[in-house]
Amino acid sequence: MDVLITRTIPVYRTPEDHGVFIQWTVTTAPSADIIFTLERAGSPTGPFDVILTNLTGYYFFDKFRTVPEPPLGATRENLNFLSLVRTIYYKITATASTGAVAFSINGVKTALPPRQERLERKIKRDLAVGFKFNGTSAYILKRKHWGVRCRKCFDVLTKKVTNSKCPVCFGTGFEGGYETPVLITGRFTAPNSNTDMTPQGLSDTTKMRFICADYPDIDPLDVIVDKYRNHRFIVQQQSETELRRNTIHQSMVISFLSTDSAEYQIPVNTDMVPVIY
Protein backbone atom coordinates (compact mmCIF):
# COMPACT_ATOMS: atom_id res chain seq x y z
CA MET A 1 0.00 0.00 0.00
CA ASP A 2 1.27 3.47 -0.88
CA VAL A 3 -0.23 6.81 0.03
CA LEU A 4 0.59 10.02 -1.81
CA ILE A 5 -0.38 13.62 -1.12
CA THR A 6 -1.50 14.93 -4.49
CA ARG A 7 -2.54 18.47 -3.66
CA THR A 8 -1.98 21.02 -0.94
CA ILE A 9 -3.49 24.41 -1.78
CA PRO A 10 -3.85 27.39 0.52
CA VAL A 11 -7.42 28.72 0.35
CA TYR A 12 -8.62 32.08 1.58
CA ARG A 13 -12.34 32.78 1.82
CA THR A 14 -12.84 35.10 4.77
CA PRO A 15 -10.68 36.10 7.72
CA GLU A 16 -12.44 33.42 9.76
CA ASP A 17 -12.51 30.81 7.04
CA HIS A 18 -9.13 30.10 5.55
CA GLY A 19 -6.67 27.25 5.59
CA VAL A 20 -5.07 24.58 3.45
CA PHE A 21 -6.90 22.07 1.28
CA ILE A 22 -5.14 18.70 1.29
CA GLN A 23 -5.93 15.80 -0.98
CA TRP A 24 -4.32 12.38 -1.15
CA THR A 25 -4.63 9.08 -2.89
CA VAL A 26 -3.83 5.47 -2.09
CA THR A 27 -2.29 3.12 -4.63
CA THR A 28 -2.13 -0.64 -4.45
CA ALA A 29 -4.72 -0.44 -1.75
CA PRO A 30 -5.43 -3.63 0.18
CA SER A 31 -8.95 -4.99 0.40
CA ALA A 32 -9.49 -3.52 3.79
CA ASP A 33 -10.76 -0.42 5.53
CA ILE A 34 -8.22 2.40 5.60
CA ILE A 35 -8.11 5.22 8.11
CA PHE A 36 -5.88 8.25 7.86
CA THR A 37 -4.03 10.44 10.33
CA LEU A 38 -3.14 13.96 9.28
CA GLU A 39 -0.17 15.73 10.85
CA ARG A 40 1.48 19.09 10.34
CA ALA A 41 4.97 20.56 10.90
CA GLY A 42 7.25 23.40 9.92
CA SER A 43 9.84 21.06 8.48
CA PRO A 44 9.61 17.87 6.39
CA THR A 45 11.35 15.98 9.18
CA GLY A 46 8.98 17.17 11.88
CA PRO A 47 8.28 17.01 14.74
CA PHE A 48 4.69 16.69 13.50
CA ASP A 49 1.59 17.80 15.38
CA VAL A 50 -1.42 15.55 14.97
CA ILE A 51 -4.34 17.52 13.55
CA LEU A 52 -6.92 14.78 13.15
CA THR A 53 -7.08 11.00 13.42
CA ASN A 54 -9.51 8.41 12.07
CA LEU A 55 -10.11 10.24 8.79
CA THR A 56 -11.85 8.09 6.22
CA GLY A 57 -12.08 10.48 3.27
CA TYR A 58 -9.38 11.42 0.76
CA TYR A 59 -9.31 15.16 1.38
CA PHE A 60 -9.38 17.58 4.26
CA PHE A 61 -9.62 21.32 4.72
CA ASP A 62 -7.19 22.26 7.47
CA LYS A 63 -8.40 25.38 9.21
CA PHE A 64 -7.51 24.19 12.69
CA ARG A 65 -4.75 26.66 13.36
CA THR A 66 -5.13 26.35 17.14
CA VAL A 67 -4.61 22.57 17.14
CA PRO A 68 -2.99 20.96 19.13
CA GLU A 69 -3.82 22.40 22.51
CA PRO A 70 -0.79 23.45 24.56
CA PRO A 71 0.13 21.56 27.73
CA LEU A 72 -1.35 22.84 31.00
CA GLY A 73 0.28 26.13 31.99
CA ALA A 74 1.86 26.70 28.60
CA THR A 75 1.00 29.24 25.94
CA ARG A 76 0.73 28.45 22.26
CA GLU A 77 1.44 30.73 19.32
CA ASN A 78 -1.08 29.72 16.70
CA LEU A 79 -0.19 29.00 13.10
CA ASN A 80 -0.69 31.76 10.57
CA PHE A 81 -1.96 30.15 7.37
CA LEU A 82 -1.74 33.53 5.64
CA SER A 83 1.95 34.11 6.28
CA LEU A 84 3.79 34.84 3.07
CA VAL A 85 6.99 33.06 4.01
CA ARG A 86 5.92 29.99 5.97
CA THR A 87 5.88 26.56 4.43
CA ILE A 88 3.66 24.04 6.13
CA TYR A 89 4.49 20.37 5.69
CA TYR A 90 1.73 17.79 5.89
CA LYS A 91 2.11 14.12 6.65
CA ILE A 92 -0.67 11.68 5.91
CA THR A 93 -0.45 8.23 7.41
CA ALA A 94 -2.69 5.47 6.09
CA THR A 95 -3.41 2.52 8.33
CA ALA A 96 -5.28 -0.43 6.85
CA SER A 97 -7.33 -2.73 8.97
CA THR A 98 -4.93 -5.43 7.87
CA GLY A 99 -2.19 -3.58 9.74
CA ALA A 100 -0.40 -2.11 6.70
CA VAL A 101 0.88 1.44 7.26
CA ALA A 102 2.11 3.99 4.71
CA PHE A 103 2.77 7.70 4.86
CA SER A 104 3.53 10.64 2.59
CA ILE A 105 4.89 14.13 3.30
CA ASN A 106 4.33 17.15 1.13
CA GLY A 107 4.72 20.89 1.33
CA VAL A 108 2.06 23.36 0.28
CA LYS A 109 2.63 24.15 -3.38
CA THR A 110 0.90 24.24 -6.74
CA ALA A 111 1.15 21.66 -9.48
CA LEU A 112 2.63 22.07 -13.00
CA PRO A 113 1.33 20.76 -16.32
CA PRO A 114 3.01 17.45 -17.30
CA ARG A 115 5.41 18.95 -19.89
CA GLN A 116 6.67 21.65 -17.50
CA GLU A 117 6.86 19.11 -14.72
CA ARG A 118 9.27 17.00 -16.79
CA LEU A 119 11.31 20.10 -17.57
CA GLU A 120 11.40 20.94 -13.88
CA ARG A 121 12.65 17.44 -13.05
CA LYS A 122 15.40 17.73 -15.70
CA ILE A 123 16.65 21.05 -14.31
CA LYS A 124 16.64 19.70 -10.79
CA ARG A 125 18.50 16.59 -11.88
CA ASP A 126 21.20 18.71 -13.53
CA LEU A 127 21.57 20.64 -10.31
CA ALA A 128 21.84 17.39 -8.32
CA VAL A 129 24.53 16.10 -10.69
CA GLY A 130 26.48 19.33 -10.15
CA PHE A 131 26.27 18.85 -6.40
CA LYS A 132 28.05 15.50 -6.77
CA PHE A 133 31.17 17.50 -7.65
CA ASN A 134 30.87 20.67 -5.61
CA GLY A 135 28.15 19.93 -3.07
CA THR A 136 28.52 19.82 0.69
CA SER A 137 26.28 18.06 3.16
CA ALA A 138 24.44 20.45 5.39
CA TYR A 139 21.66 20.36 7.93
CA ILE A 140 18.81 22.81 7.63
CA LEU A 141 17.37 23.89 10.96
CA LYS A 142 13.95 25.36 10.29
CA ARG A 143 13.16 27.98 12.90
CA LYS A 144 9.84 27.47 14.64
CA HIS A 145 7.19 30.11 14.07
CA TRP A 146 4.27 28.48 15.80
CA GLY A 147 3.79 26.08 18.67
CA VAL A 148 4.29 26.06 22.43
CA ARG A 149 6.01 29.14 23.77
CA CYS A 150 9.12 28.82 25.92
CA ARG A 151 8.14 28.61 29.56
CA LYS A 152 11.62 29.55 30.77
CA CYS A 153 12.37 32.87 29.13
CA PHE A 154 9.41 34.07 27.04
CA ASP A 155 7.29 36.95 28.30
CA VAL A 156 3.75 36.22 27.12
CA LEU A 157 2.50 39.77 27.69
CA THR A 158 5.08 41.64 25.61
CA LYS A 159 6.01 38.64 23.44
CA LYS A 160 9.69 39.13 24.08
CA VAL A 161 12.50 36.67 24.58
CA THR A 162 14.41 37.63 27.71
CA ASN A 163 17.39 35.28 27.36
CA SER A 164 19.18 35.05 24.03
CA LYS A 165 20.99 31.90 25.16
CA CYS A 166 18.03 30.11 26.68
CA PRO A 167 18.76 26.36 26.72
CA VAL A 168 15.09 25.58 26.05
CA CYS A 169 14.30 27.82 23.07
CA PHE A 170 17.77 28.99 21.91
CA GLY A 171 16.52 32.56 21.76
CA THR A 172 13.53 31.82 19.49
CA GLY A 173 10.74 31.94 22.07
CA PHE A 174 9.44 28.47 21.13
CA GLU A 175 10.16 25.29 23.03
CA GLY A 176 12.85 23.42 21.15
CA GLY A 177 13.51 26.46 18.99
CA TYR A 178 13.98 24.64 15.72
CA GLU A 179 12.36 21.76 13.87
CA THR A 180 14.16 18.45 13.41
CA PRO A 181 17.28 18.96 11.23
CA VAL A 182 16.91 18.15 7.53
CA LEU A 183 20.02 16.77 5.81
CA ILE A 184 20.49 18.16 2.31
CA THR A 185 23.29 18.78 -0.17
CA GLY A 186 24.12 22.24 -1.40
CA ARG A 187 26.98 24.44 -2.49
CA PHE A 188 28.70 27.08 -0.36
CA THR A 189 30.26 29.84 -2.43
CA ALA A 190 33.57 31.46 -1.46
CA PRO A 191 33.11 33.62 1.64
CA ASN A 192 33.49 37.36 1.86
CA SER A 193 34.90 38.41 5.23
CA ASN A 194 34.92 41.89 6.75
CA THR A 195 36.23 43.23 10.02
CA ASP A 196 34.70 46.59 10.93
CA MET A 197 35.28 48.87 13.86
CA THR A 198 31.96 49.34 15.63
CA PRO A 199 30.90 50.71 19.03
CA GLN A 200 31.11 47.09 20.17
CA GLY A 201 34.74 46.81 19.13
CA LEU A 202 35.90 44.93 16.07
CA SER A 203 33.04 43.08 14.47
CA ASP A 204 33.68 40.20 12.10
CA THR A 205 31.19 39.36 9.41
CA THR A 206 31.61 36.50 6.98
CA LYS A 207 28.94 36.22 4.33
CA MET A 208 28.54 33.83 1.45
CA ARG A 209 25.89 32.21 -0.65
CA PHE A 210 24.40 28.77 -0.22
CA ILE A 211 22.72 27.20 -3.24
CA CYS A 212 20.50 24.18 -2.91
CA ALA A 213 17.47 22.48 -4.38
CA ASP A 214 13.90 23.64 -3.79
CA TYR A 215 13.20 21.30 -0.92
CA PRO A 216 12.75 22.10 1.89
CA ASP A 217 11.85 25.77 1.57
CA ILE A 218 14.40 27.83 3.46
CA ASP A 219 13.40 31.10 5.07
CA PRO A 220 15.33 33.98 6.61
CA LEU A 221 16.43 33.20 10.20
CA ASP A 222 16.70 29.47 9.49
CA VAL A 223 20.09 28.00 10.39
CA ILE A 224 22.37 26.03 8.07
CA VAL A 225 24.93 23.68 9.61
CA ASP A 226 27.97 22.55 7.65
CA LYS A 227 27.86 18.85 8.47
CA TYR A 228 31.61 18.21 8.44
CA ARG A 229 32.86 21.37 10.11
CA ASN A 230 29.88 22.19 12.33
CA HIS A 231 30.09 25.79 11.15
CA ARG A 232 26.69 27.38 11.57
CA PHE A 233 25.16 30.11 9.46
CA ILE A 234 22.03 32.18 9.70
CA VAL A 235 19.99 32.78 6.56
CA GLN A 236 19.64 36.50 5.87
CA GLN A 237 18.16 36.58 2.38
CA GLN A 238 16.54 33.96 0.22
CA SER A 239 15.96 34.09 -3.51
CA GLU A 240 14.68 31.47 -5.93
CA THR A 241 14.66 30.56 -9.57
CA GLU A 242 11.25 29.52 -10.72
CA LEU A 243 9.51 27.72 -13.52
CA ARG A 244 5.95 28.93 -13.83
CA ARG A 245 5.98 29.98 -10.17
CA ASN A 246 7.36 26.64 -9.06
CA THR A 247 10.68 26.83 -7.27
CA ILE A 248 13.58 25.15 -9.04
CA HIS A 249 16.41 26.02 -6.73
CA GLN A 250 17.12 28.38 -3.88
CA SER A 251 19.99 30.75 -3.31
CA MET A 252 20.57 32.19 0.15
CA VAL A 253 22.82 34.88 1.56
CA ILE A 254 24.09 33.37 4.78
CA SER A 255 26.16 34.81 7.61
CA PHE A 256 28.66 32.85 9.69
CA LEU A 257 27.52 32.88 13.32
CA SER A 258 29.85 33.63 16.22
CA THR A 259 30.88 30.41 17.93
CA ASP A 260 29.35 31.51 21.22
CA SER A 261 25.92 31.98 19.66
CA ALA A 262 22.96 30.05 21.04
CA GLU A 263 22.59 28.38 17.64
CA TYR A 264 25.66 26.26 18.38
CA GLN A 265 23.80 24.68 21.30
CA ILE A 266 21.10 23.21 19.06
CA PRO A 267 21.61 19.45 19.02
CA VAL A 268 22.53 18.26 15.53
CA ASN A 269 24.05 14.91 14.81
CA THR A 270 27.45 15.86 13.45
CA ASP A 271 28.96 12.71 14.87
CA MET A 272 30.57 11.33 11.76
CA VAL A 273 33.99 10.40 10.42
CA PRO A 274 35.46 13.51 8.81
CA VAL A 275 36.24 13.33 5.13
CA ILE A 276 39.93 12.56 4.50
CA TYR A 277 41.18 14.05 1.30
Binding site: K160, N163, S164, G171, M197, Q200, G201, L202, I234
Partner: protein, 222 residues
Protein backbone atom coordinates in the same frame (compact mmCIF):
# COMPACT_ATOMS: atom_id res chain seq x y z
CA UNK B 1 43.85 66.72 40.48
CA UNK B 2 40.23 65.61 40.13
CA UNK B 3 37.83 64.70 42.87
CA UNK B 4 36.66 65.91 46.23
CA UNK B 5 38.16 66.21 49.72
CA UNK B 6 38.54 62.49 50.31
CA UNK B 7 38.55 60.63 47.00
CA UNK B 8 40.07 61.11 43.60
CA UNK B 9 38.15 60.31 40.42
CA UNK B 10 39.80 57.03 39.59
CA UNK B 11 38.90 53.32 39.79
CA UNK B 12 39.84 51.11 42.72
CA UNK B 13 41.75 48.77 40.44
CA UNK B 14 45.33 49.89 40.02
CA UNK B 15 46.04 51.93 36.92
CA UNK B 16 49.32 53.56 35.93
CA UNK B 17 48.89 56.93 37.63
CA UNK B 18 51.71 58.48 35.62
CA UNK B 19 49.90 57.78 32.38
CA UNK B 20 46.27 57.79 33.48
CA UNK B 21 45.47 60.76 35.68
CA UNK B 22 42.46 60.94 37.97
CA UNK B 23 39.44 62.15 36.04
CA UNK B 24 40.97 61.38 32.67
CA UNK B 25 38.98 59.42 30.06
CA UNK B 26 40.45 56.03 30.86
CA UNK B 27 39.96 56.58 34.59
CA UNK B 28 36.29 57.45 34.08
CA UNK B 29 35.69 54.43 31.84
CA UNK B 30 37.52 52.24 34.37
CA UNK B 31 35.25 53.42 37.18
CA UNK B 32 32.08 52.43 35.34
CA UNK B 33 33.55 49.15 34.12
CA UNK B 34 34.28 48.29 37.76
CA UNK B 35 30.81 49.30 38.92
CA UNK B 36 28.92 47.38 36.24
CA UNK B 37 31.12 44.30 36.56
CA UNK B 38 30.44 44.35 40.29
CA UNK B 39 26.70 44.29 39.61
CA UNK B 40 27.08 41.12 37.53
CA UNK B 41 29.32 39.27 40.00
CA UNK B 42 28.56 35.56 40.64
CA UNK B 43 26.69 36.10 43.92
CA UNK B 44 24.53 38.94 42.57
CA UNK B 45 21.67 36.56 41.88
CA UNK B 46 21.41 37.48 38.22
CA UNK B 47 21.16 35.20 35.23
CA UNK B 48 24.24 36.84 33.71
CA UNK B 49 27.58 36.44 35.47
CA UNK B 50 30.64 38.42 34.49
CA UNK B 51 34.02 36.71 34.32
CA UNK B 52 37.32 38.31 33.35
CA UNK B 53 37.90 35.50 30.87
CA UNK B 54 35.94 36.41 27.71
CA UNK B 55 35.47 32.74 26.83
CA UNK B 56 33.90 31.95 30.22
CA UNK B 57 31.85 35.05 30.90
CA UNK B 58 28.24 35.06 29.87
CA UNK B 59 28.11 38.83 29.77
CA UNK B 60 30.88 40.91 28.26
CA UNK B 61 31.51 44.26 29.99
CA UNK B 62 34.09 46.36 28.16
CA UNK B 63 34.87 49.80 26.81
CA UNK B 64 33.47 50.62 23.39
CA UNK B 65 35.42 50.95 20.15
CA UNK B 66 38.01 48.60 21.58
CA UNK B 67 40.16 46.70 19.12
CA UNK B 68 41.95 44.79 21.88
CA UNK B 69 38.99 42.55 22.72
CA UNK B 70 39.48 39.10 21.27
CA UNK B 71 35.90 38.09 21.80
CA UNK B 72 34.24 39.28 18.62
CA UNK B 73 30.48 39.78 18.31
CA UNK B 74 29.91 38.34 21.77
CA UNK B 75 26.54 38.98 23.37
CA UNK B 76 25.05 39.86 25.74
CA UNK B 77 27.42 42.72 26.41
CA UNK B 78 27.60 46.13 28.05
CA UNK B 79 29.91 48.73 26.52
CA UNK B 80 31.05 51.91 28.27
CA UNK B 81 31.51 54.91 26.02
CA UNK B 82 32.89 58.25 27.12
CA UNK B 83 31.38 61.10 25.17
CA UNK B 84 32.46 64.73 25.42
CA UNK B 85 34.29 66.18 28.45
CA UNK B 86 33.39 69.82 29.16
CA UNK B 87 35.00 71.99 31.88
CA UNK B 88 32.39 74.41 33.24
CA UNK B 89 33.44 77.88 34.41
CA UNK B 90 32.40 78.30 38.04
CA UNK B 91 34.45 81.36 39.12
CA UNK B 92 35.87 84.47 37.48
CA UNK B 93 38.98 83.37 35.66
CA UNK B 94 38.53 79.93 37.28
CA UNK B 95 40.54 81.30 40.26
CA UNK B 96 40.26 79.57 43.56
CA UNK B 97 43.10 80.95 45.73
CA UNK B 98 46.36 82.89 45.47
CA UNK B 99 49.41 82.29 47.66
CA UNK B 100 51.11 85.71 47.73
CA UNK B 101 54.72 84.92 48.78
CA UNK B 102 55.46 82.86 45.69
CA UNK B 103 52.39 84.05 43.85
CA UNK B 104 51.06 80.57 43.25
CA UNK B 105 47.56 80.71 41.83
CA UNK B 106 45.14 77.82 42.23
CA UNK B 107 42.27 77.33 39.81
CA UNK B 108 39.29 75.06 39.71
CA UNK B 109 36.46 74.17 37.37
CA UNK B 110 33.68 71.68 37.29
CA UNK B 111 34.37 68.99 34.69
CA UNK B 112 31.29 67.46 33.11
CA UNK B 113 31.64 64.13 31.27
CA UNK B 114 28.80 62.58 29.32
CA UNK B 115 28.72 58.81 29.33
CA UNK B 116 26.81 56.19 27.41
CA UNK B 117 26.37 52.57 28.35
CA UNK B 118 25.18 50.31 25.56
CA UNK B 119 23.50 47.01 26.39
CA UNK B 120 23.68 44.65 23.40
CA UNK B 121 22.01 41.31 22.83
CA UNK B 122 20.74 39.05 20.07
CA UNK B 123 17.22 39.54 21.43
CA UNK B 124 15.47 42.82 21.96
CA UNK B 125 13.90 41.60 25.19
CA UNK B 126 17.21 40.58 26.74
CA UNK B 127 18.82 43.87 25.74
CA UNK B 128 16.00 45.73 27.47
CA UNK B 129 16.18 43.63 30.62
CA UNK B 130 19.95 44.11 31.00
CA UNK B 131 19.63 47.83 30.29
CA UNK B 132 16.97 48.12 32.97
CA UNK B 133 19.23 46.40 35.51
CA UNK B 134 22.13 48.70 34.66
CA UNK B 135 20.02 51.85 34.64
CA UNK B 136 18.46 51.15 37.99
CA UNK B 137 21.80 50.17 39.49
CA UNK B 138 23.32 53.49 38.40
CA UNK B 139 20.27 55.38 39.62
CA UNK B 140 20.04 53.67 42.98
CA UNK B 141 23.72 53.82 43.81
CA UNK B 142 24.47 57.40 42.77
CA UNK B 143 25.23 58.55 46.31
CA UNK B 144 27.65 55.70 46.91
CA UNK B 145 29.34 56.22 43.55
CA UNK B 146 29.72 59.95 44.21
CA UNK B 147 31.22 59.35 47.62
CA UNK B 148 33.55 56.54 46.64
CA UNK B 149 34.82 57.87 43.34
CA UNK B 150 35.17 61.59 44.03
CA UNK B 151 32.25 62.85 41.94
CA UNK B 152 30.49 66.13 42.65
CA UNK B 153 27.18 65.35 40.99
CA UNK B 154 25.47 62.82 38.82
CA UNK B 155 22.51 63.16 36.46
CA UNK B 156 19.80 60.54 36.40
CA UNK B 157 20.51 57.85 33.80
CA UNK B 158 18.24 57.99 30.75
CA UNK B 159 17.27 54.71 29.12
CA UNK B 160 17.03 55.04 25.34
CA UNK B 161 15.18 53.13 22.68
CA UNK B 162 16.22 49.57 21.81
CA UNK B 163 17.24 49.52 18.17
CA UNK B 164 18.61 46.87 15.81
CA UNK B 165 22.14 46.88 14.45
CA UNK B 166 23.36 44.84 11.53
CA UNK B 167 26.29 42.66 12.51
CA UNK B 168 26.91 38.99 11.66
CA UNK B 169 23.30 38.69 12.75
CA UNK B 170 20.93 41.36 13.98
CA UNK B 171 21.92 42.67 17.39
CA UNK B 172 19.79 44.88 19.61
CA UNK B 173 21.30 47.76 21.53
CA UNK B 174 19.76 49.83 24.33
CA UNK B 175 21.66 52.96 25.33
CA UNK B 176 21.78 54.47 28.82
CA UNK B 177 22.99 58.06 28.96
CA UNK B 178 24.02 60.18 31.92
CA UNK B 179 26.60 62.74 32.97
CA UNK B 180 28.98 62.97 35.89
CA UNK B 181 30.57 66.11 37.28
CA UNK B 182 33.66 66.48 39.42
CA UNK B 183 35.98 69.29 40.46
CA UNK B 184 39.27 69.62 38.71
CA UNK B 185 42.08 71.71 40.22
CA UNK B 186 45.28 73.08 38.80
CA UNK B 187 47.90 75.65 39.80
CA UNK B 188 50.21 78.16 38.19
CA UNK B 189 53.48 79.24 39.77
CA UNK B 190 54.98 82.22 37.94
CA UNK B 191 58.66 81.54 37.51
CA UNK B 192 59.64 85.24 37.07
CA UNK B 193 59.62 86.16 40.82
CA UNK B 194 61.96 83.23 41.45
CA UNK B 195 64.42 84.83 39.07
CA UNK B 196 64.31 88.25 40.70
CA UNK B 197 67.61 87.78 42.52
CA UNK B 198 69.61 86.86 39.49
CA UNK B 199 72.71 89.00 38.99
CA UNK B 200 74.40 89.95 35.83
CA UNK B 201 78.03 90.89 35.15
CA UNK B 202 78.45 93.11 32.19
CA UNK B 203 81.77 94.24 30.84
CA UNK B 204 81.53 97.52 29.03
CA UNK B 205 84.55 99.08 27.32
CA UNK B 206 86.95 97.20 29.58
CA UNK B 207 85.14 98.16 32.76
CA UNK B 208 82.95 95.99 34.87
CA UNK B 209 79.44 97.25 34.98
CA UNK B 210 77.74 95.16 37.65
CA UNK B 211 74.00 95.45 37.75
CA UNK B 212 71.33 93.90 39.86
CA UNK B 213 68.92 92.77 37.26
CA UNK B 214 65.30 92.97 38.05
CA UNK B 215 62.87 91.15 35.93
CA UNK B 216 59.55 92.76 35.50
CA UNK B 217 57.29 89.76 35.85
CA UNK B 218 53.71 90.36 35.11
CA UNK B 219 54.05 93.88 36.50
CA UNK B 220 54.23 92.60 40.06
CA UNK B 221 57.98 92.56 40.57
CA UNK B 222 59.83 95.70 41.65
Amino acid sequence: MAGHETKQVRPKTAQDHLRIAAGSPLAIQGIFLEIIRERFRPDAGLEWVWDADPTLTNILIETSYNEEIESRNKVPAVYVTRLQSTPTKMAVGDRSTVHLPDHQEVFKALMRIDLQLECVSNDEGESTVIADIVQFMILASQDVIQREFGFYSFTHPVLGQTLPQDREQVKWATPISFSVEFWIHWAQVPIAPLLQQLSQKITLQGRDAFRQTVLNSMRRAT
